[in-house]
């Protein structure tokens, strides 16, 4: 080494590990929450615990430190899934209606509040609720089933092809 200084490569390695872990942690939370919601949180938490356990079992300082950093970040990400759920409910993160049922209901309620003219009164053909008891309708405040003709399948059009 020039000047007799021993270079400590552990620092740059941990810098890269920290950077990549935060980066891919963000992406992990976003993609996992979009497809699976908060359900995988215990799995991610357990994965983090396993990595921490692994870090106690290796004598290699750099490997142990890497496992420790990634493991503790995974523990964090498990909780971050729930914060992501809150972001989705507030409308700040992408909503997957097939997975995020509660958030979809909230979004529908917000939508219905913003468009009161959409509820013109009358009896719901789905559940029999009236404007006063609309909240009982299992389809939510935006139930439009009374306008069933909007959702009717288009009639098959008979086409006169003529004979060849």
């Amino acid at each position: 080494m020039p000047g007799g200084i021993d270079l400590q490569w552990a620092g740059p390695v941990f810098a890269v590990v920290t950077f990549l872990t935060i980066w891919w942690g963000h992406i992990l939370v976003r993609i996992v929450h979009y497809h699976l919601g908060t359900r995988p949180a215990p799995v991610i938490f357990l994965g983090g615990l396993l990595l921490l356990l692994g870090s106690t079992q290796t004598g290699n300082d750099i490997l142990g430190g890497t496992c420790g950093i990634v493991g503790l970040t995974l523990l964090w990400d498990a909780f971050e899934l729930f914060r992501q759920e809150a972001r989705v409910r507030q409308g700040h993160a992408p909503l997957n209606p097939r997975v995020h049922r509660a958030a979809a209901g909230l979004a529908a309620a917000r939508f219905a509040d913003e468009h009161p003219e959409a509820d013109e009164g009358g009896t719901c053909l789905s559940c029999g609720s009236t404007p006063n008891s609309r909240f009982l309708c299992r389809r939510g405040p935006y139930c439009q089933v009374r306008h069933w003709e909007r959702y009717a399948t288009p009639q098959a059009v008979e086409v006169e092809t003529g004979e060849r």
Partner: protein, 119 residues
């Protein structure tokens, strides 16, 4: 049992937690347009970890440096969050330069999904 890994993990969690705070403060008091200076500072700290006298000091400096570089990447996003009204804006914010976002950033064409690199 080796406790180095768990110790460094706890330290990195602490540093990342502080990162949330300083990114918000830095955007508020200074402005996200200085993000390249922050990135340079972070890289400098990473480089200085190379010449630390022992393993623990080097590891601590490296983790802090990596976290600061990440925070620099996060500053433009924080500016977007302020523009969307999720965080308070500094009273003098209008008079300082801003990174002009055209319509906010998205994570790809599909809703909710980005590339593996889009943060």
């Amino acid at each position: 049992m080796h406790w180095t890994g768990i110790g460094l993990g706890l330290f990195s969690a602490l540093v990342i937690g502080l990162g949330f705070v300083w990114v918000i403060r830095f955007e508020y008091y200074v402005g996200a347009y200085r993000w390249k200076w922050v990135a340079a500072l972070g890289l400098l700290i990473c480089a200085s970890s190379l010449v630390m006298p022992n393993f623990v000091l080097s590891a601590i400096t490296g983790i802090v440096g990596g976290s600061i570089v990440w925070g620099a990447m996060e500053l433009p996003h924080q500016e977007e969050r302020v523009e969307h009204g999720l965080f308070r804006a500094h009273p003098d914010r209008a008079s300082r330069p801003s990174l002009h976002h055209d319509g906010g950033h998205d994570h790809g064409s599909k809703p909710g999904l980005g590339k593996w690199w889009s943060f």
